[in-house]
């Protein structure tokens, strides 16, 4: 489904990966990854830990040499023109990577200098970054003393000081509370609306919903690529939402029985992907009653991204252990 989609976009892709592969010894971290991202798109990499998302990003931004395959970012080959690539991109990693022992302004000045911002643009951009992070008038504060949410917004502002056409975000909101995460995503949407192409990795489902298109990765491979709504629609098996007094035990019990393809906890309830709805309803009631678990309700629900994710990961060989 991935390849069929690519030709649809009329403009030339801003990120274009072709059979990108990276091995570490015998381990294939990224295996023949091909995709294209068009201008202004928010493109998400979704996958469990160890799926190869970070390795893929590191190859695209020139921090890691691909073992084979190629990629172009903003029209530059990542292997042959790493410097041109670096000038065209902004990057923010899951680790907060500004200097905590410098002040907010000193951090911004440093990166403005390293990105060669001309003197006349420098002050404007620094002011813009301070505003974006909500840190007007707090430029002289030590970065270490900021709450994590503000730090992350500052890191984002610093990553796009030079107004790069492409922005790479590697799990940018890990550890941030939901409110700060929402503010952060508003910023990303604004940047994309202004024409910035964004590639973001995440394992938060609600974040994935913000992406225009999602690449589902597992075991180094691309296992699905489409818009979130299309991915949800692609799941044909019915999903039953089961409410009990003991969701943890219920999920474990139900995962093993015949006619239920998968059962996982989603919030306080259990989502079960079933082959046939009526038969499954009967079996679920039986099993839970036998085990003394109080069954409160069983409802058919629309598949969420998480259901798609679980199903795709299972079909592509399960999660890598360790």
């Amino acid at each position: 489904m991935a390849e069929a989609d690519l030709g649809v976009h009329p403009s030339e892709p801003v990120i274009d990966a072709d059979e990108l592969t990276r091995r570490f010894g015998d381990f294939v971290a990224v295996d023949g990854l091909s995709f294209a991202v068009r201008s202004g798109e928010i493109f998400g990499f979704l996958g469990p830990n160890g799926a190869g998302k970070t390795t893929a990003i590191r190859m695209l931004i020139g921090l890691l040499e691909p073992s084979s395959g190629s990629a172009r970012v903003a029209g530059h080959d990542v292997r042959r023109e790493p410097d041109a690539v670096k000038r065209s991109i902004g990057y923010m990693s899951q680790l907060f990577s500004l200097y905590s022992d410098l002040t907010v302004r000193e951090n911004l000045e440093l990166f403005a200098g390293l990105y060669d911002l001309p003197a006349d643009r420098r002050e404007d951009r620094i002011r813009w970054a301070l505003g974006t992070a909500g840190l007007e008038g707090r430029g002289d504060q030590l970065t270490a003393t900021l709450p994590l949410g503000l730090k992350q917004r500052l890191a984002l502002g610093s990553a796009v000081l030079h107004e790069p056409p492409v922005l790479f975000l590697d799990e940018p909101t890990s550890g941030v509370d939901p409110v700060a995460r929402r503010t952060f995503w508003d910023l990303i949407s604004d940047l994309a609306a202004a024409g910035t192409t964004v590639l973001v990795t995440t394992h938060y489902m609600e974040e994935a919903e913000h992406c225009h298109r999602l690449a589902l990765m597992n075991r180094g491979r691309l296992v699905a690529l489409d818009a979130p709504s299309a991915l949800e629609a692609s799941l044909h098996s019915p999903i039953l939402e089961i409410r009990t007094n003991d969701p943890t035990r219920a999920a474990a019990l139900l995962a093993g029985i015949e006619g239920i393809e998968d059962a996982t906890m989603v919030g306080r309830s259990v989502h079960a992907m079933v082959a046939d709805e009526p038969t499954a309803r009967v079996r679920i009631a039986e099993v839970l009653e036998r085990e003394g678990i109080d069954l409160r309700s069983v409802d058919r629900v629309r598949p969420t991204l998480e259901d798609v994710f679980v199903s795709v990961v299972r079909r592509s060989g399960g999660v890598v252990e360790g």
Binding site: K86, I89, L95, S97, Y99, E106
Partner: protein, 379 residues
């Protein structure tokens, strides 16, 4: 290779300077610790002996034998801890450790001296304290010899046992450090150790910290090149090193009164080469360390052998041949030779060209190796 951007280097140097000078603890490590180390070495590492406990067995019991004992005491290096006429007491005193040196004057000592016959004095030292014993033995020998010559002159008889018997008055004089004060020798050497410690500590830890925290990765996705990054990391440390050099030299000269007979320029040139080598080693350590802790441990793996092989506390000349050869690879050794010669002998670059050339070669080799490795591990 891309052109070096002056702006990038300036930005990095400014950032490093801010980080180095902002933290009070770092400031302490950079500017106070070297002085404390120097003062400690100046006072604590004292290989001179003073007031060494001595046990006297005088079986001669003449005014002359008492004069000999007095001669020991007046030097200030020996203190009579006990006396007896029984040699067994001397043994017990050494066994107990209440005395480190024992002197036994046999009966007939004064008579032998007066008759111009070889006079015998036995000196026993506690060999478990080998350093003190060797030094004490040296002094005791000299005191006895001087005493014999003295007596011979006043009696008008040539004293045998001393070289005066052959008509030659042999007098050893230590040049450049007439009082043979170990401080004169040690204090300049501490400068070398302090500078190396500072270079390794600041560079290796600074790079390792950035790698650990993730800022190094952030820097490497900017247009900053590895060379610019390295310059940014090393220039501020080199400056700190030169400030430390001035500080420590000042304390050595004005507090410890170590003579400074050479040229300041020669010292600065030597320090620059030495610091360059130290920075390169620091960078090398940072390329093999992923965390600050690893960098710290690797540093110690290097610094202890480097200091021991350098002849800082133990002279290189007394090491086994293999280690003497190995010590030629030790920049600290060459720097110490230079510093001691500049301070005490007033030697210049011309007279020390071999050491300067070696330091230069080491700095160049270590730096190119570090640059190559740094580029590979960073980019």
């Amino acid at each position: 290779m891309r052109r070096l951007s002056r702006r990038h280097v300036v930005e990095m140097v400014r950032k490093e300077r801010r980080q180095l000078f902002r933290d009070p603890r770092t400031r302490l490590v950079m500017f106070v610790a070297p002085v404390i180390q120097l003062v400690m070495f100046g006072y604590a590492v004292n290989t001179d002996i003073r007031d060494t406990a001595m046990f006297v067995v005088d079986r001669d019991r003449t005014p002359v034998s008492r004069l000999l004992v007095e001669a020991f005491e007046t030097t200030g290096r020996f203190r009579v801890e006990g006396a007896s006429t029984d040699a067994a007491d001397l043994g017990r005193s050494l066994d107990r450790g209440s005395a480190i040196v024992g002197i036994e004057i046999p009966s007939g000592f004064a008579a032998d001296l007066a008759a111009g016959r070889p006079a015998r004095v036995q000196i026993l030292v506690d060999g478990t304290q080998s350093n003190t014993a060797t030094i004490a033995l040296g002094y005791a020998g000299r005191i006895v010899q001087a005493f014999a010559l003295d007596r011979a002159e006043s009696d008008g008889i040539p004293a045998s046992g001393g070289s005066a018997a052959a008509g030659i008055d042999l007098r050893a004089r230590a040049w450049y450090n007439p009082a043979l004060q170990s401080r004169m020798y040690n204090v300049p050497a501490v400068i070398g150790v302090v500078l190396l410690l500072m270079c390794l500590l600041l560079t290796a830890l600074a790079v390792a910290r950035e790698r650990e925290v993730g800022t190094l990765e952030q820097l490497m996705v900017t247009p900053l090149t590895p060379t610019e990054l390295m310059l940014g990391k090393t220039i501020p440390v080199a400056v700190v090193g030169m400030i430390d050099l001035a500080l420590v030299t000042g304390v050595a000269v004005f507090w410890f009164r170590v003579p400074f007979r050479g040229s300041v320029l020669a010292l600065i040139v030597a320090a620059l080469l030495y610091i360059l080598a130290g920075l390169a080693l620091g960078l090398l350590i940072s390329t093999v360390s992923r965390t600050q802790q690893e960098a710290f441990l690797t540093m110690f793996l290097f610094i202890l052998p480097a200091v021991i092989l350098a002849g800082f506390l133990y002279p290189v000349e007394t090491m086994p041949a293999f280690f003497r050869w190995l010590s030629l690879l030790d920049p600290v050794r060459h720097f110490l030779v230079i510093v001691r010669a500049i301070f005490l002998k007033g030697e210049g670059i011309a007279g020390l060209w071999a050491q300067y050339a070696t330091l230069l070669a080491m700095a160049v080799a270590a730096l190119s190796f570090a640059v190559a490795r740094f580029r590979r591990t960073i980019a």
